[in-house]
Assembly symmetry: D2
Homo-oligomer: 389 residues x 4
């Protein structure tokens, strides 16, 4: 049987565009048995010169400057959206309307209403839809999931997540698009906490209610000279107001009725660059993870003999670990980019069979519902329930 | 000049009684220049046989079975209270009334009203009063404090504390006194979170407001056969209700208006035995500590040259580190018990000069106010302000 | 100016063949400013079906089954040798004779005499020659080198390297080619210690003399059914003799007259998968590295203020760190494969200017001289001097 | 039955004298069931004023200034020798002749001949004899021993020990007694390597042969103004020659015929204060230890399920761990001094039954034989066999 081909149109060409491009290039390299090969048909961006250059660098066959045109091309099966959040909804709606499978960066949208629109659109169109919470597909996270399904942690009592970065501590760091509420929708919340929330739900199920705070430590920043994402930073000279959160913290209860959780997302934790960590403590054992040491998973087994118990650091690089057979021998580590390759591997295999892939837009909406509740609770200064998707 | 003597009467003889006894024995051993020598006059407990045995083991000159009698003895200068929380108030009041200096285990009381009574009593009596937040006096914590005073962290943005233990995960673990609300007042909150709160206040100042949750994972436990602390466990056969929190979590804002914090205290974190940790992230640097590695402090300095930044693990065992000149050469580690010895060292030196010592009962009341607010907010499901001491 | 092209012919297509192929694919992806683009002209292996399959998977334009034919093709500029060690000499000689640049896997040869032949051949032919000690080009190692050049460690007193793996502990693991002396030349020595030796020389200079031991813990192993590398495992049924070292250990003195070193290489260290570590201790500071956490470098600075000294963990993923600008944001880690990409990046840039690249064959010979001295000293049971290259 | 008393006479009152004094004070405090109580009869030193002061500080009943007088006192059962190494032999001989049990600091003597004299003397006198390799009695080390006896590591392949300190890197650090060959006998070798050697033998048995190097990095140092240990530093003004090793390294084979080992001892490893570490790798598992984190033991179990293997950090502070029932709750860490308390606990219990305790002088001689072989091999530049005790 001939290997299928999935013809991809990618919107966006910067950080995420590069990570996605790499994943399409590399998935068939590492996984020769992949059931559908991605064909890198077209990359889309408004700056034709820039996008043309990266098209060559990344290996795309053609270039588009209008996403509307891209989604309507007959030779595109899958539309991949990595543009900033304020673009997600219109792009996803257009792609769905054009009958294309949609693969969208997280968070799904800049607010819950938009996310729901997107879910409705893909449902109505009956197209495959995936939101890119890529960390789910790290070997360590897949192992964590497997352990939990196997009962390793027993009844989960605690979830504890920190996603800490420090790249905007300097008050003179300008208002880039990720700090612009009109473009990014939120700050650390949608950028960082969204990942932690998805991991929590992937491993422990839905979040029911929460109390929170949001904080903006630096309330004004220099305007960025160049325009970004189609929006010009405030015309006023000098500084502009920061309207997004620098940090978002919350305590919560899960829908299972037992687990309690803490979440912390911040861009103001000096020394932490991409410190995406969580820990689960249950009646039988514990699991913890730190993205800065992404080839490791730490586990604690209460059923170990008395006096011989302790946290064990598993290098998740054995051939028996998820995805690792495609890569290198044990402890010949993989990196950040491989999380994306793993997603594309799974997405191609699913699409080869006409299937979608988790996390889908419904999950994207659920995460959005939690994000929106965090902001709501921060304002109301009360515990708030997370609404249904 | 002759070294002064401070004659001590100790109430309680179990875990804390042992730790305090050891501190009186050892302070002059390690610190020969101590300005007042503790004289271990009397130890007090209701079980005469038991207390007589430990008196010999620990080195106390005499035994009392009534705290009222103890506090009135002419040959006692300092009354040290390590009985369970429900006894603190009456004992401290009696000691103050008798004009004795009072040194009381934490938390100061089982509720804020009682704590305030104690503060009033010592103020009225004009006696020295100290609450034993012993971890303040670890070399690593003293170093953290010094760093903060020297501006190392700059503006503090984040406080993040976990105090995790796991000794009651087994549902068949009985309702010992620390799980008995009438005796202990609360569960993980007063036992564990109290330490974290005091450290936070010691390092960053007062806490202004918070949102919280409290959780009791195992709601019924076997009654304990023997009575403890003067109270008999429920007469009913079989299981008794657990009325204290197994875990307490909160997010907060500090009084400085900038710092936001998370606190988590639990006895249900499998794998963590005495995992008393915190981290501070500020505009200039970060500091973190873990009691399970109590001879270490980790620091991150944003002013290190670009590309050479990272968390640095300081072994706080050099002679230049607080208290360490009294002990052993570098990296010949000290242990848990030395935190108590350090307190007694400082207390003796202070009393030799007729002075009190921080943290005093006022600080004990402040911590109690935070604890009470945690419980209040857990019930109200709203952000609550911490009342004044 | 048009970007140059370097047309590559690769010999070997398994583990190393895959790693090298990936590097050619990815170097221009991550480093668009690369001064010469590798063109993946031909891949060579004796099993036509197998090599044809990977040619497609890896992206090679054509296939050869004879290395002699490959090296003579007019459309090849660079011959890349990743075949087992017993093939290196004849392949390199043929490539040099054909006037091709030669890039050879480590160790350069299976013995010193062969390595010297290779050096003579490339010198005579005047062709660019490189031996692939890829770990040199990890950001952490480059940072270590820079620190040493800047005087960070001062006078180096100690070198301490362990390269520990555990993949052949099982006595029933068969005699694969890496355990076959006729193919691999040696065991842990050439495979693992060679890397440590090259790193030591890269950072501290030549090794002068040493005392050693070699040990084969499992002296007989099952023969491997299939033939490998052109040689058939012993015809005798059942087990075959293991003629290579399972572990090689030595203490040494460096040519600088001051530094003393220990090296340990083994495939019998349970729990260590690719634990390639070293530490340098000098008069001013220390540096340590562990390949299992390859995005980190630990440093200790004696000039830090008293009481504030400690080992600092630098995440070597800032844009300011070598090569990292081509990859991802800070702490979005790179992996094992990126060490190869970095080599190709540097090799292409060098060849674009007609230059060679360190480590060259001369360094390959020097490492071989140390390896040979380890074996000699293990037999003589005496300290032995390392011969000149 | 009345608890026995063992009346102790201690020679030496500085670092080790303090550590031993503390152990006698504290053993009955932590272990009330101890079968014999140490009575702190007399402490001996030549400086009467100094020793009188510490006698009071440490709790000794009386003072002697002549060791000859001390060993002959009728009220002394056990002579404890903590004077520098050049005094051990004459003191032990005198004590043995006087029929006293002898407990001697390590290394047993400054050379093998002296050590053998001591062994002969205690054998002839039939007195209890113990050499103080205190680290054996840390809970983590006892656990390691138990694991090995239980077959946890299987066939041991590798031993790897580093004992690293850094207190004499400064070339202006003076020639204190530990650097004076006449007093200390050797440098890092007897001070540090002796501990590693004893641990290796405790866990894996005798060492058969070795190759080594010794290095003195700083060959001249300022003379120390004050005289120490009864010897005056060189009369010449200015600097004096350093005659001891700053570092000693060796590779070895164990008597079991299988295990190979590396040892490294140095006082020139910047950043390491008391980094006494070892690792054992065997056919079934691995064990590693680091004195700087002395409440932890790391273990790796090859029989863990595939994909779930990893190094596990055991906190050796559970009541089930050796000695810990006497101390504090889990993870309420013990420190350096408790290793000495554990020795005294075991020694008192043994002597209560008229028994001796391992490690005895025979083991002390065996360690000395290894030390002497290290020096011999460093000079001969050949592998040397370790002589019989």
């Amino acid at each position: 049987m001939a290997v299928k081909e999935i013809r991809v149109g990618l919107i966006g060409y910067k950080f995420m565009g590069k990570a996605h491009s790499n994943a399409y290039r590399q998935a068939p390299f590492f996984f020769p048995d992949i059931k559908a090969r991605p064909v890198m048909k077209a990359i889309c961006g408004r700056d034709k010169a820039a996008v043309t250059q990266v098209a060559q660098q990344y290996g795309w066959e053609s270039v588009e400057t209008s996403y509307r045109k891209l989604v309507q091309r007959d030779d595109i099966d899958l539309v991949d959206i990595t543009a900033p959040g304020n673009w997600h909804t219109k792009m996803a709606l257009a792609a769905a309307e054009a009958g294309k499978a949609v693969y969208c960066e997280k968070p799904l949208a800049n607010n819950l209403a938009d996310a729901r629109l997107m879910l409705q659109a893909v449902r109505k169109a009956g197209v495959i839809n995936v939101v890119n919470f890529n960390y789910r597909r790290l070997p360590a996270i897949q192992l964590a999931r497997q352990l939990i399904e196997d009962g390793f942690v027993g009844t989960p009592y605690h979830w504890r997540a920190c996603y800490l970065q420090d790249w905007i501590i300097d008050p003179d760091f300008p208002l880039v698009w990720r700090l612009d509420k009109r473009i990014a929708g939120s700050g650390s919340l949608g950028d960082l906490a969204a990942h932690s929330i998805d991991l929590a739900m992937f491993l422990l199920g839905d979040i029911a209610s929460l109390a929170s705070l949001e904080q903006t430590f630096i309330t004004e920043r220099p305007r960025l000279a160049e325009t970004t994402g189609g929006l010009t930073a405030a015309a006023a000279k000098g500084k502009v107001k920061v309207a997004v959160d620098d940090a978002a913290l919350f305590v919560c209860r899960f829908a299972n009725g037992t687990t309690v959780g803490t979440f912390e997302a911040t861009r103001f934790a000096a020394g932490h660059k991409n410190f995406n960590t969580f820990e689960i403590n249950g009646s039988k054992g514990s699991i913890r993870f730190n993205l800065e040491r992404m080839n490791e998973l730490e586990v604690y087994d209460r059923s170990d003999p008395e006096g011989h118990q302790g946290f064990k650091t598993i290098l998740t690089t054995d051939p028996s670990h998820p995805y690792m057979e495609g890569y290198w021998p044990p402890a010949h580590n993989i990196g950040y980019e491989h999380s994306f390759i793993n997603v594309i591997h799974d997405l191609m295999n699913a699409m080869a069979q006409g299937k979608g892939l988790d996390p889908d837009f419904e999950q994207g909406v659920k995460v959005q519902a939690v994000l929106e509740t965090v902001t709501k609770a921060a304002k109301s200064k009360k515990w708030e329930k997370v609404p249904q998707a």
